[in-house]
Symmetry: C2
Subunit: 439 residues, 2 copies
């Protein structure tokens, strides 16, 4: 993409009302624009990151055997009356009346709707196990939306729902998501720690939050350092195999959010492994048995002919929140430092003297070669000052910067800078693409 044709409204100043670094940087880099309290437009740069995260989540859900569909944003209130949550949910639920005065709502979550889809079609244990997911916008009418996309009102969530005949089956489904989550977050460059969690208003017995550590985290968290050093299960994991080992390998170590914290258990960890930090919740998984299937009569016939309520779990990932979460974890004093996998572009190409025939030609050719090699490139072909170009490129944090100017051209070289390490090397044109190609 040529910057002269792109829409990248960066600004020099941090807006006064942004309290945390990710919010500041997302506004400064023109990733989002607020349209109302907790409601954002995803500007082109931000939208690219959002799509990359969404795609990683999709691939890891698919790998774990979940099947994608899409439920609508608006729902009928009647379904929520069946589950009993319509009155319970409180003011966070955005309640709406349509022109025929029917009670509707903007879905804050989808347990009721997916249970209704399920019971309409699935009648036999032979159709199980099943895990259905979607990535759809939700609305929760927070009293005080804040921290940019970290606590917005309209937000993008991936929510998966598992259906099994037995409790053991439901546990297997839970383990699959547990492992898929670790892989997904790892692919985004994050170390997410599963922490035993309170089950809250969704209810149920088994539940973990996935927390990334960041100074600006919303809550205090406590864990064994061993968990931070552990590799994810890996993309070659056999999801049809026994996953209990992968889960127990982690759950044997202490990890808890503030609400679930046990001082004595934490004190029993060797002192050099006690991590006390702030954390950001990026995922949450629940096993809640028959909490919804019973009142909503989602029953299946078992092998013995008996009809039983289906065992369910739900599994959320905060897709739009992750954009902020990744920035909290990946930035320096000059701006964002994107992990390769979610960077809006992989390379930033800087033309030091736009308008100069030789520079334009060399840049144009390299730009075409990069695009032909499938490397997403933002080509700064503007006539801004060199200093402004460098600062902007650092600010938006693309993994690689390629700088072409008259001096380098005389020597036939390109300056290649790695945004994360700051390392700069001069390379002949022919070696540039190999250098910046992702492993």
């Amino acid at each position: 993409m040529r910057l002269s044709r792109y829409f990248l409204p960066v600004s020099k100043e941090a807006p006064a009302d942004a309290a945390i670094v990710s919010h500041k940087l997302m506004l400064r880099t023109g990733m989002v624009r607020q349209n109302g309290a907790g409601i954002y437009t995803w500007l082109p740069l931000g939208y690219r990151v959002l799509k990359k995260i969404e795609q990683i989540v999709r691939e890891e859900m698919d790998r774990a055997g979940a099947i994608e569909l899409l439920m609508p944003t608006l729902q009928q209130a009647d379904l929520w009356r069946e589950s009993g949550r319509y009155d319970d949910y409180g003011k966070e639920m955005l309640r709406i009346k349509d022109r025929h005065d029917r009670d509707m709502l903007y879905g804050p979550t989808n347990e009721e709707l997916i249970t209704d889809v399920f019971r309409s079609y699935v009648k036999s244990y032979k159709q199980l196990p099943l895990n259905l997911y979607h990535q759809q916008w939700k609305f929760r009418d927070e009293v005080r939306p804040r921290f940019g996309v970290m606590r917005g009102r309209e937000f993008l969530m991936k929510d998966a729902y598992s259906f099994d005949l037995t409790e053991d089956g439901a546990r297997v489904a839970y383990y699959k998501m547990f492992c898929a989550y670790l892989n997904a977050f790892s692919r985004m460059g994050l170390t997410a720690v599963p922490m035993r969690a309170d089950t809250g208003p969704i209810g149920g017995e088994l539940s973990h939050e996935f927390i990334i550590l960041a100074d600006t985290g919303e809550s205090a968290v406590f864990c064994d350092k061993t968990l931070l050093d552990m590799d994810p299960p890996g993309l070659d994991l056999d999801f049809d195999g026994d996953l209990s080992g992968e889960v127990e390998k982690r759950t044997q170590y202490y990890a808890a959010t503030e609400e679930m914290h046990d001082e004595a258990a934490f004190a029993a960890i060797p002192e050099d492994r006690q991590v006390s930090a702030r954390g950001i919740e990026v995922g949450h998984i629940f096993n809640f048995g028959t909490k919804y299937s019973k009142p909503m009569n989602a029953v299946v016939q078992g092998p013995d002919g008996q009809m039983v309520p289906v065992q369910m779990g739900s599994y959320g990932i905060g897709v739009s929140r992750l954009v902020g979460g990744i920035i909290e974890a990946c930035h320096d004093e000059n701006g964002i430092v994107w992990p390769d996998s979610v960077a809006p572009f992989h390379v930033g190409l800087i033309n030091m003297r736009a308008g100069d025939e030789a520079c334009d030609k060399a840049c144009g050719e390299l730009y075409e070669q990069l695009e032909a090699a499938g490397i997403d490139t933002l080509y700064d072909d503007t006539d801004d000052r060199a200093g402004a170009k460098f600062a902007r490129m650092d600010l938006i944090g693309l993994p690689w910067q390629l700088v072409i100017g008259p001096k380098g051209l005389e020597k036939g070289i390109v300056e290649v800078k790695n945004r994360k390490t700051g390392e700069k090397v001069e390379l002949p044109f022919a070696e540039v693409i190999a250098k910046v190609t992702p492993a």
Copy 2:
């Protein structure tokens, strides 16, 4: 995807309340489920088609130089008070109050919001031309939603918005979208005819609807047959070049919807070229000048230093509606006949005797080869009867069917059926992939 692990709730009977063939087929094939009047869940098969259409639209918008972002579904009422449309829009606009009693609405379209984004950042003609688009769910509270996804209340629309300094510039932007639309619809296997249209509530002077012909179309349309036989501009079109020839080549021929129909002009066409038919609107483009930029004060500085309201246009494609539209245009008595480009899977592989060791092995190997070749395959590994498998595969309309059974295996062959032509050939295993690989 193995059917035994998929979620494909097909049904034998056409539901009584479905009035048109696409709605019937979408319900029978388990593509969508209605969750309320005009509100649908996109089940896995339907969602795959929706995503393919969305991706074609994205690629053709990008090719024409438009830039993708994402605006939220909910908007502040105040923006619509600025443009004057808040009171004008009527009951089709879903009006909402949040917990702080602020007036909001579920966006039926986005002229106001994009104008607000634009005026926040763009101050100079040097930042123009600009075309920003998104693909987002909209809500229009129709009195009588009907025809399935063809006239739903919650629907997915691609809407692009162009910004130019001058009327001439705006015309160039309009021409780009005109050509991009023809390419996009052509890629979906559709012949869309641009018809001069009434500008309606969006206002403005220059406007075309893009109409596909189908017996169940919502309105009568009239055109010169020449338009139906014309090739699209083509994917190698230079969007930076002069596109007026491409546009005039088409607009010189008569084409009009009922509202704009001119009997005398139509009668002047040679009789064998007079087409009088029913049509479905799948796209609509408008040039509306300063209708929104003036009241909302979206002004840019021109080369002479004067501030002038920006010239705008908007360009819609009914993405979710197209799923129904394509089925209306592409089906036979046995079910859907998907064009390759939007088919949910490219190949359906039928195991005639699931459980038979040789059949399972041969099917499993071919399935893996197809997936490795990047060919999306639905593998029917269920133990349903052969007749049921054939009927289901015809119903869901994948372009190719591969049938493997004990008899064929003895001869080392696979039966390959083309869903559209009905042609069946027997091929050795080694030749199957080449046969079904898209050109």
